[in-house]
Symmetry: C2
Subunit: 388 residues, 2 copies
């Protein structure tokens, strides 16, 4: 896939600042190998190869319920959770079951491009709210809601990536989360909390989740093993009211396909119950923090003075804002010719032109030396565009 991005005739290795993928060296550790072997060698392994319980492998749900309760001081029951085949499955299922075409949803600007794509495939109308360094701007949300109401419209849900947001790396402040929940109650919409980067924080504490702040009311919260273990397993989890979860369990696709990836879920359960995941998460936090630090240092060193960027406290991404004279597409094109891939900002916005001066750097995938070399190349390209 990376090789395909290379312009014809290019032979040197690509530096990928493009992909929001975990470091390849972290996805298949000896501990995961051991857990997989252990499942395959159990006499009961065949059960994980049949259709699974629709809600998902019970032992993994129990593990996750206990973990979330302990960490967030909640009192979830297993009925509050189901396993999903990654956050994709959860977002798609929620959109299908709880909206109808033409419904309005509110997203952050910018927002996770593939989620926008899924919502569009479901024929949902999207409105977006700009963000600042504390996340989506609540006064703008309130204005939009009032305006929609004056037109007789109510949004069905708000979709947010509150922690280490994709693509900006920004974390939504707790104060704003509380205000957003109040608006959700006032205007009767629900919140999809896409919290897949939650365990990739570099500091001890995080703002309280939407789910915990609202005590689960009007919130469905999504977690995933894709960022902290291995995307190829396709396992995540969805937390919500027992009624909402039951509705998802009773959906046609769930009834037809059985529980989410029973074999992979059994392997993940084995891995988690041995304590490996907790340990792996700590290792990942240190790894990505080092990469973030290297990326930030390189940005400081190599970027012209009028380029600005975010300082993520976790996750995979840094968001760069270029001067208005410099277009991200042009930087991206020139970078590709020097073997550096990255995303320009347009696709993350409903209105493409909103992102034409933004770049997203993923620091999760490239080595420290590649990160530094790639950002140096970007800095040179931008300088050359400024002073040709």
């Amino acid at each position: 896939m990376i090789a395909n991005d290379l312009p014809q005739g290019m032979t040197r290795n690509t530096i990928s600042l493009l992909l929001g993928h975990p470091d390849p060296a972290t996805v298949f550790t000896p501990e995961l190998h051991e857990a997989m072997q252990s499942v395959l060698n159990q006499p009961q392994a065949y059960k994980a190869l049949q259709y699974g319980p629709e809600q998902g492998t019970p032992g993994l749900i129990s593990y996750l319920v206990d973990k979330v309760n302990r960490e967030q001081d909640l009192a979830l029951q297993p009925a509050n959770m189901m396993l999903v085949a990654g956050s994709t499955h959860a977002i798609d299922m929620i959109a299908r079951l709880f909206t109808k075409p033409g419904d309005i949803a509110i997203v952050e600007a910018p927002s996770y491009v593939d989620a926008l794509h899924v919502f569009r495939d479901q024929q949902i109308e999207l409105c977006s709210i700009p963000m600042d360094e504390h996340g989506l701007i609540v006064t703008e949300l309130a204005t939009l809601l009032a305006q929609l109401k004056s037109e007789g419209k109510t949004p069905r849900f708000l979709y947010s990536v509150p922690n280490f947001h994709n693509p900006t790396g920004i974390t939504l402040s707790e104060e704003r989360r509380v205000q957003i929940i109040a608006l959700a109650q006032q205007y009767s919409f629900f919140i999809i909390e896409d919290d897949v980067y939650r365990y990739l924080g570099f500091e001890r504490s995080l703002p309280t989740s939407f789910y915990a702040l609202a005590q689960g009311e009007r919130v469905m919260s999504i977690g995933s093993f894709s960022k902290t273990l291995a995307p190829g397993l396709r396992i995540g989890w969805l937390t919500g009211s027992p009624e909402a979860i039951q509705q998802c369990v009773n959906a046609g696709t769930t009834q037809m396909g059985g529980g989410a990836n029973p074999l992979a879920a059994q392997m993940v359960m084995e891995y988690c119950l041995k304590g490996y995941w907790e340990w792996h998460i700590q290792r990942l936090q240190a790894l990505y923090q080092q990469r973030r630090d290297t990326a930030l240092a390189a940005l400081s060193q190599f970027m012209p003075a009028d380029v600005i960027w975010t300082t993520p406290l976790g996750g995979f991404f840094i968001w760069i804002t270029l001067p208005k004279t410099i277009f991200a597409q042009e930087v991206k094109r020139l970078a590709l010719h020097q073997g550096v891939t990255l995303s320009s900002g347009e696709g993350f916005f409903i209105n493409f032109t909103d992102g034409q001066h933004n770049l997203r750097i993923a620091y999760s995938f490239a080595s420290l030396s590649d990160l530094e070399a790639g950002i140096k190349i970007l800095g040179q390209i931008i300088r050359n565009l400024q002073h040709p």
Copy 2:
């Protein structure tokens, strides 16, 4: 799951004629174990744990394309196929991408209950066509199409399980397939060919597939490893025109989640390339043929004269039609009290009352002695209801 079906206080083992699941003893063979171990021990295993190519693991697509071309005398290219997370994923994706709410689809009466559920979740309006022993009745389809046309309506697609149909076990005749394709061209609808039982035939030949008869025009055909290997792997494949496949590959969910279950797909590829699947299919055909024979013999021996049933030439299911005085729900309830589970017919029809004198027996899951004992119990229950 089986245990949960038991009425309170029941202690004896349940005989399940309910589940359309493969025999549990067949899903985790030494050959599959070997293929899985082989993947986990490859230095490149980590690649299968990342996000995969959106179209699916290329080596497995190549294997399937070659197999289908060889068997059906086709000239498919890899661009005609993508991997899916089971037929569920394919049906759901097709319905989402190629219909809009309120669109009309035509299904067989009876039809696969979970597919109906998925279509309903997508707010598709369903019309059904009755079946006889040769499959859906084409004259009835022609009448419906003409009637819809007179109302200014066009169905978007026809959904069919042409081989060893669920729930009836009936195979649609080739003559009718040709007629249906002609109607699809005349009325501009497409055909979803759900062919997941294809490789479970007990005879040498099968009618030519919709896909082959139409040379792929207006047909999307679905295959799966769930019936002939292991449902818990969640791997199937979708065949269609390059344009339709590309549209599925470009869908939000595909772009967001990556290819279908990359780890499981790699394991299935390894298993297939070693020739194990072909060999396993032959073993399954013999196994299920023996079960079908045992079930048919027990039906002949134990059922009253006015009960009739289908004679499947493959697959998992026999469809029983009771006299009009006997209600399937009552038989099901009494059977459960004697530890025998099975499906009554209502859920397989759009109009529930159409199935109230039908039962579906799955012979795939129970042992030969359980099959015989279960059918004996059903026969006694029906006799008792006739002559209380």
